[in-house]
């Protein structure tokens, strides 16, 4: 067991436990905090995959903005400070069964695929995390400028839409 393997197992266990707590805990504020923990563990997984820039962007975008939005939404949509009642549907067992089946099916497909056993290809570290190359690719006409601009328009539409939808007309 190399240290990297131990680290990966610890990280993935924390991630799965946090995600499980997100979807099962009754107290919604605690669920939001477990979500923050899961998002942070995903950032650690990105670091393990040598995508350092993506890890930091994950923390900035998800924990710094989306998780705070979630906490605000949870705090603004409750009448009392305490939680009441079960937080799961009446068909939670069907959902659980379906999720387990899906997980089983996906794992079977993954393990049956020949390429899944490959190990990480060795690359010199300097080539991997080249942010200036990423920046250049995002604005290169022969690169990815069209998805970049479409994503910008999408964000603008979401910004305006969220303000209009949540506008208090009183």
């Amino acid at each position: 067991m190399t240290p990297i393997q131990v680290l990966f197992i610890l990280t993935s266990l924390s991630l799965l436990v946090s995600a499980f707590m997100v979807v099962t805990t009754r107290n919604l504020v605690r669920a939001a905090l477990w979500l923050i923990s899961s998002l942070f563990m995903v950032a650690v997984v990105f670091v393990l995959l040598d995508a350092g820039f993506l890890a930091v962007v994950q923390v900035v975008v998800y924990i710094g903005a989306i998780a705070i939005l979630f906490i605000f939404a949870v705090m603004l949509t409750r009448k009392v400070m305490q939680d009441t009642g079960p937080q799961s549907n009446s068909q939670w067992w069907v959902a659980g069964l379906f999720s387990l089946l899906l997980f089983g099916g996906l794992s079977w497909i993954i393990l049956g695929w020949g390429g899944a056993a490959q190990t990480v290809p060795r690359v010199t570290a300097g080539d991997l995390d080249n942010i200036s190359d990423l920046g250049r690719a995002l604005v290169d006409p022969a690169g990815y400028v069209v998805p970049f601009e479409v994503a910008s328009v999408l964000l603008l539409a979401a910004l305006i839409g969220a303000i209009v939808v949540a506008w208090d007309r009183n």
Binding site: L28, S38, V42, F53, L69, A73, A116, A117, Y144
Partner: protein, 102 residues
């Protein structure tokens, strides 16, 4: 050392947990949290494939960045909708939004 299948199974597990959250939770905000978990699972998948198959190309990372942007936009609009619904109906339980039900 770490085969690709480990990352893929981790992503599959996270996706299924998010799916359970979407299907089995009453509160609309909790459903959105499940969607976030699913999007993160997709991102892990993308970055794992990028690293193992084409580490010298940038398409994987760009794809992951676009997924970040899309999920941020979706959460913003989703939560705005939830808050607007709460103002009207004083409830965020998804089962209570049944005006259009037959």
């Amino acid at each position: 050392m770490i085969p690709l299948s480990w990352y893929l199974i981790l992503a599959a597990g996270l996706f299924c947990l998010g799916l359970y959250g979407v299907l089995a939770r009453k509160n609309a905000v909790a459903i959105l949290m499940g969607i976030e978990l699913m999007l993160n699972a997709v991102n892990i998948n993308l970055v794992a494939f990028w690293r193992y198959q084409h580490p010298l190309e940038l398409a994987g990372q760009v794809f992951a960045i676009i997924v970040f942007a899309v999920s941020a936009a979706e959460v913003a609009v989703g939560l705005a909708l939830v808050i607007s619904l709460y103002r009207r109906r004083r409830s965020v339980v998804a089962e209570n939004m049944d005006l259009l039900r037959w």
